[in-house]
């Protein structure tokens, strides 16, 4: 007894079985171990590893080595494996196996064809022959693939009508065959049917469900109406919005069989191999469709089916042609649905996008505010999120984030919570601080590759001296629509399309825009002539159009064009009629106020009215709805010091509708600027900023900043490196050497332009 107690926690090392033992249901172990456990040669034994089990017979190892275990998993749970596992001998239990009277099984065969053409009696005879002499256990899979027949697995449904769990099959056992399935289909059914949570896609989800369900659930009524059921859906959307996840979730919900086609898996090296692979996939889908609903999913279909006109390679064209013929060849009797997903619909072959092939095209755009809120909600369901986290606020700051970005954000926040647990909370809870830290690390993916993304230093309104009315106007056009969407909707106002800041150089135009971008929570893109112009014909226009497309994808956004006069120029006084500038200008005019957007760029669920339908709603939710109505576009902010050089078409309302003059600073403004500039300087009490402001007529903001620098340098020069403060005389000295950069005549011209 002592020996048995000692061996109860003996660890055995799992090794793969010998080749000669394959299919014998043997389990090899050391003879000493066998005798300690009281096992005889061939006594049945149940081995359990991590929830999966295997029934086998005990045999001594030929080399009599102890401490190893080699199991031939002929009759085991489908996910059983002993490799690389060390298991204690307590996991091995001898089982009493009586001779069986009756046995019920499910037969898994390789192909549907065999299933159709073979009678049940033949299968029963075969299966009986295969099972004879084997020990079987309830719910185990018996692997009979080594016999080389079409029958691959036999699943033991119950043993002796459920009164036993294990037993020995003999010639006298009465065998009952429940059903016959193909292996693939049965495995598909076994996969867990857990729901994949999806946020913000309810309507698209519903329409996909409808398409898949229609032919399956109501074949009769469809036939009566005389319409063939829709067969193809093309999902279009930027990367990361959840196209693949959507298909997975729908398929799982309907309980359909999913055949996935991957571009790389299809393409083969031999000529004709790719087409053959494609045909095989379609055949597989057709076979599966005979047993239930089936979806053939072609991910990244643009790689499989590119535009034929553009490519010169013959194999590619053949593959496209094959796909087209296969899609046409689906008869009305095979009801399986083809779903394709792509993020570059323009690169697809035109022949693919017609009814009969892809009947419907579903566009999934970058999520809007409400959709983001709902995605965040479904993502954070699984996470231990503290009650302080405001998901609505989080959705507001994550403009331009797609579902993949949001899930990365949540993951990062959770990681932060794990790596830096806050001191006061014992349990690991993700709070708002973690999300804010994560926001710094996770950037929206639509902005990752785009041009014009700038990493700007935040500037607050207070850092700009003077110019109060300009600041107010900017706030009106940029901040107000974000902060008070309700009022804007009530007044029938919309956000201005564009704002032009003009004024003499050095008067804080760029800094003003920076401050506006900092204060509003928009995405901010800034572009200069260097980004746009390229030596290739048509490249600049394309770059600008793409910039607008990206800005729209992550709207609300601000697009800043500094020195716009150099980028677009004017058509009127241009000496070269078809210069690049003129073309870029025409693109800009179109993007600002064109006929409409491309359908591919559609976002959200169409137009929704923001009327509350009688339900008592959270004021926050209402505001979110107003936000969605109000802030959808891109706002162009341009700055120039030569407004006269701009094309007049650009300056009309509807394009750049707010034209803001940034005047040279007057005395008060200069004082304010000086105060801001000298904030961090050690000033002597005798310095009179007021006097300086009076004396610096026609100085711009940049000049004033330079003056302060000059004075500080002079101090260091005269008094040595340990001078404590800057004295007034140095300011005056610096003033003597400096000339104002503005010139009164020029100012006069500026004023007369728009008055």
């Amino acid at each position: 007894m002592d020996g048995e107690m000692a061996c109860a926690d003996l660890m055995l090392r799992g090794l793969p079985p010998d080749r000669s033992d394959c299919g014998t249901q043997r389990c090899r172990m050391g003879p000493a171990h066998m005798s300690r456990r009281g096992l005889n040669i061939g006594s049945p034994l149940l081995i359990t590893v991590q929830g999966a089990s295997c029934l086998c017979t005990a045999w001594p190892r030929r080399d009599r080595a102890e401490g190893y275990l080699q199991v031939d998993a002929k009759c085991a749970s489908p996910d059983f494996s002993t490799e690389h596992a060390s298991l204690s001998s307590a996991r091995m239990k001898p089982v009493h196996c009586p001779k069986l009277k009756c046995l019920k099984v499910i037969v898994l065969v390789h192909s549907t064809e065999y299933k159709k053409h073979t009678s049940k009696d033949t299968v029963r005879e075969l299966v009986k022959e295969m099972l004879r002499g084997l020990y079987v256990y309830e719910k185990h899979w018996v692997n009979v693939g080594d016999a080389g027949t079409e029958v691959k697995f036999i699943v033991i449904e119950n043993v002796n009508s459920g009164s036993n769990r294990a037993g020995l099959v003999t010639a006298q056992t009465c065998l009952e065959i429940g059903t016959i399935h193909t292996v693939q289909q049965y495995r598909g059914q076994l996969q867990d049917t857990g729901h994949i949570s999806l946020g913000g896609m309810d309507d698209i989800h519903a329409s996909l469900m409808e398409i898949i369900n229609l032919p399956v659930r109501y074949p009769g009524s469809l036939r009566k109406v005389g319409v063939p059921c829709p067969r193809g859906v093309l999902l279009i959307g930027p990367p990361g919005v959840g196209k693949t996840t959507l298909v997975r979730s729908v398929v799982r919900e309907v309980g359909a069989f999913l055949v996935t086609v991957n571009g790389p898996a299809i393409l083969g090296s031999r000529p004709g191999e790719s087409e053959e692979n494609l045909r095989r996939m379609f055949r597989q889908a057709r076979e599966a469709a005979e047993e239930g609903p089936c979806v053939l999913f072609i991910d990244e279909i643009d790689s499989l089916c590119p535009r034929r006109a553009g490519s010169s390679s013959a194999p590619e064209n053949r593959l496209v042609a094959q796909l087209l013929t296969l899609m046409d060849g689906i008869g009305s009797e095979d009801c399986f649905v083809i779903i394709g997903a792509t993020n570059q619909p323009d690169r697809l072959d035109q022949a693919l996008r017609r009814p009969g092939r892809f009947d419907r095209e579903v566009i999934i755009g970058v999520p809007t505010l409400k959709q983001r809120r709902s995605i965040l909600g479904s993502l954070s369901e699984q996470m231990p999120v503290s009650s302080s986290v405001d998901l609505t606020a989080l959705a507001e700051v994550t403009s331009g984030y797609v579902a993949a970005d949001l899930s990365a954000l949540c993951r990062e926040a959770a990681l932060q919570a794990i790596l830096h647990p806050s001191q006061d909370s014992v349990s690991q809870v993700v709070d708002q601080g973690h999300f804010h830290q994560a926001l710094r690390r996770v950037q929206p993916s639509c902005l990752r590759t785009s041009l014009g993304v700038t990493d700007l230093r935040p500037v607050s309104w207070e850092q700009i001296g003077g110019l109060e009315d300009v600041k107010l106007k900017l706030k009106q056009s940029i901040e107000w629509p974000m902060k008070f969407p309700e009022a804007f909707v009530r007044m029938g106002l919309s956000r201005p399309r564009g704002v032009l800041l003009y004024g003499p150089p050095g008067c804080a135009k760029t800094t003003l825009v920076k401050a506006a971008a900092t204060s509003s929570r928009c995405s901010f893109l800034s572009v200069s002539g260097a980004d746009l112009f390229s030596p290739f014909v048509g490249d600049s226009e394309k770059a600008l159009a793409q910039l607008f497309r990206q800005a729209r994808a992550c709207s609300p956004s601000i697009l800043f064009l500094d020195e716009i006069d150099s980028i677009v120029g004017s058509r009127a006084d241009s000496r070269v009629p078809h210069s690049v500038q003129a073309k870029v200008l025409s693109v800009l005019l179109n993007e600002l106020d064109g006929v409409g957007l491309k359908s591919v760029e559609r976002r959200g669920a169409g137009q929704r009215t923001c009327q509350t339908d009688g339900l008592p709603q959270n004021p926050r939710d209402t505001q979110m709805e107003y936000q969605e109505v109000c802030n959808t576009g891109v706002m162009l902010v341009a700055a120039t010091n030569r407004p006269d050089a701009l094309d007049s078409a650009l300056l009309r309302p509807g394009r750049l509708d707010q034209i803001i003059d940034v005047p040279p600073p007057d005395t008060e403004a200069r004082l304010a600027i000086l105060q801001v500039c000298t904030e961090r300087m050690a000033l002597d009490p005798d310095v009179s900023l007021g006097e300086l402001a009076v004396r610096t007529q026609w100085f711009s903001g940049a000049d004033l900043e330079n003056l302060c620098k000059e004075a500080a340098l002079l101090t260091l020069h005269e008094e040595g490196m340990d001078a404590p403060t800057v004295q007034h005389k140095y300011f005056m000295k610096a003033l003597q050497t400096m000339k104002p950069s503005l010139d009164p005549q020029q100012m006069e011209q500026h004023h007369q332009l728009f008055i």
Partner: protein, 202 residues
């Protein structure tokens, strides 16, 4: 060697090996007889294919009435005859399998009845002339399994053959060859060599 159960199990094992030896010879001879039958089956398949491809009315033989149908009938009869003969061979295989199976299960049953006196140490004990009980039982089980699997494969092969599927008929000889597993068959011969001293001892 004083254990009476061990002695009688040894006797039983010797008997089993003798049965296996005899039946293995029978099996091999039947298998040899089968191969001309199967190759003639393949030949008939080719003839049927040729008949299907030829347009008899367009040849000089077109004057004979219903020649194509008659030939087809004749060939089908021939296929049926060969299949019938193969069926008989299958019975011979089954007899071998049953004989071996019966002997092996008798040996196992005897072992299971006497597990009280035959402990594991005794089972794994081996000498120059006598292999261990565990090894001999294992060999017997392997042999039994080999015959069962072979019989199953060959029976399944004949069942799937249909006279109207010409490709199946044509490829029959090749597939018949691929059914045999030389390794396992060699294993039986090896086993018989290994137990030859044991069988000769009294």
């Amino acid at each position: 060697m004083s254990n009476p159960a061990l002695l009688s199990l040894h006797q039983l094992l010797k008997q089993s090996f003798r049965v296996v030896e005899q039946n293995h010879k029978v099996w091999k001879s039947v298998l040899l007889e089968c191969s001309p039958l199967v190759s003639s089956l393949g030949n008939l398949g080719e003839q049927l294919r040729a008949l299907k491809n030829v347009q008899v009315p367009q040849t000089p033989l077109g004057r004979f009435p219903d020649l194509q149908e008659r030939l087809h009938y004749k060939l089908s009869i021939a296929v049926d005859t060969v299949m019938g003969k193969l069926g008989e061979k299958l019975d011979a295989f089954e007899a071998v399998r049953d004989a071996v199976s019966k002997q092996v299960s008798a040996a196992f049953q005897f072992y299971e009845r006497n597990t009280g006196t035959l402990d594991i140490a005794c089972c794994v004990n081996r000498s120059a002339v006598t292999p261990s009980l565990a090894d001999m039982l294992e060999w017997l089980q392997d042999t039994d399994r080999y015959y069962r699997l072979q019989f199953l494969k060959r029976k399944n092969f004949l069942q799937t053959l249909k006279s109207d599927d010409l490709t199946l008929l044509e490829t029959a000889p090749k597939r018949w060859e691929s059914l045999s597993s030389p390794n396992a068959e060699e294993g039986i011969s090896d086993m018989l060599f290994q137990v030859s001293f044991f069988m000769d001892s009294e």
